[in-house]
Symmetry: C2
Subunit: 233 residues, 2 copies
DNA sequence: CGTCAGATTGATCTGTGTCAAACCCAGTGG
DNA sequence: CCACTGGGTTTGACACAGATCAATCTGACG
């Protein structure tokens, strides 16, 4: 559990916070950065689990986390990935409800914990902050609703292409087209909402068509345009 | 276009508003109820369409509206129904984006239009209101994410049962189990995310099993418990 | 060098989508 | 009053995408 990377000091964390919430005053940022609020999480570690009564939310200083829900027969549905500068868990805090999804660190992470009292205090006392949060919630809402349509209407083949492109968009790729996010076939299938074998077969098809290349978790997008066509974009 | 029912006076509308947004002050409520902000919409009328640059959102004084997105080959995905006391369109206003879904009146409706300037002003000046809006957005977010899991993992048979139950929950039913919301098979299929014929076949199956009865758009839930089992609840 | 998770490939089964035809019923207009 | 019309509903036949099950393979790592 010893951090492999040094925890950032308050100043560094403050700078990150300001990027996401530019409405925060210095005083308020101070109130967020109490001792112990900044914590290191090892890759693979679970931050919290569906149904947990969390009493605060988390700001990501660095790293990538996976947000998912467990369904029938233990199959997981990945809702989204969050990264540096994102905030998660606020839904449960604001509604005073148990967590509706589980969170797992996909890479080593540094998270800043924001207790419910402070979050609610900020929303009720800093209108700019409330507006920032509002925008974040609305953006997520738009993405989720868009995804409902896709998952309901598009074929798995189309959705997989779309997911690959959106991963490229969210996390970037090397100059050669390699996705910066390394991800297992199983996780891919849990985003797309299909069986792992199907993802593997479709990736092979793409490969045969010269659209992608892959070795293990390294996936290379060779023909973005064609993938967009398949995805229906 | 002449209203079949008289438009409510400001006082009636004010009362409805207070039920949803109890943080509103009298002055603020006044600012919402300018002349012309309250309008009647006929059943089947389109309030606005995906991609429209709307400059305000709507509060539902009475009636039911359908929120949907158009996908491949004109097939629609219904995101949700809203009714009396609900507010819609705020996502686009808050993000300054074009509408991401279309709105249609499922019954005769009376809507109260809230211009963007006023909505944003309220959020930035009345923390209680901002918090109310925040809760609404978060609630919708929770529902949407939950639905992503369902649509990705459950079979159509399971989802149809779930949708019927949730319609019963949202809009109620008569003592005999008849859903108060009358809905076409096509709309049902557009919620579940399947073909119309499949909904019809599954309803027939349910009927054969004594779980539901139906004549036209009147659907009667005969065995709620069994339906819950099918839905996986 | 053994082990184990993840990746791959094949064979098979089935839930749903698609296409086509017919039917029911309410509203309209002659 | 009745034929006409058209939207919604129903049923059947058929094809196929994708799930499932089973077996094998690969590569990373202790």
């Amino acid at each position: 559990m010893t951090p492999k990377i040094p925890l950032p000091d308050s100043a560094a964390c403050y700078a990150k916070l300001k990027q996401t919430f530019n409405a925060l005053t210095d005083n308020e940022a101070q109130s967020l950065l109490t001792p112990g609020s900044i914590r290191f999480y090892k890759k693979g570690e679970h931050i919290y689990t569906e149904g947990a009564r969390i009493k605060g939310c988390y700001f990501i200083y660095s790293g990538i986390i996976k947000i998912y829900q467990t369904g029938h027969e233990g199959k997981n549905q990945i809702i989204k990935f969050d990264r540096e500068g994102d905030i998660f868990g606020f839904r449960s805090v604001i509604l005073h409800e148990p967590a509706c999804s589980s969170i797992e660190a996909l890479s080593d992470c540094i998270l800043c914990y924001i207790p419910d009292t402070i979050l609610l205090h900020l929303i009720k006392n800093n209108p700019g902050f409330a507006y920032d949060m509002m925008q974040i919630a609305c953006k997520e809402l738009g993405v989720s609703n868009h995804y409902i349509r896709d998952i309901a209407q598009k074929s798995v083949r189309e959705r997989l292409a779309e997911v690959l492109l959106s991963i490229a968009g969210d996390f970037g790729m090397e100059k050669d087209g390699t996705l910066k996010l390394s991800i297992t076939r199983e996780d891919l299938s849990n985003i797309v909402g299909t069986a792992t074998e199907t993802v593997i077969r479709l990736l092979s098809e793409y490969k045969a068509e010269g659209l992608v290349d892959s070795r293990g978790r390294k996936i290379v997008l060779l023909n973005i345009e064609k993938l967009k066509t398949i995805a229906g974009l």
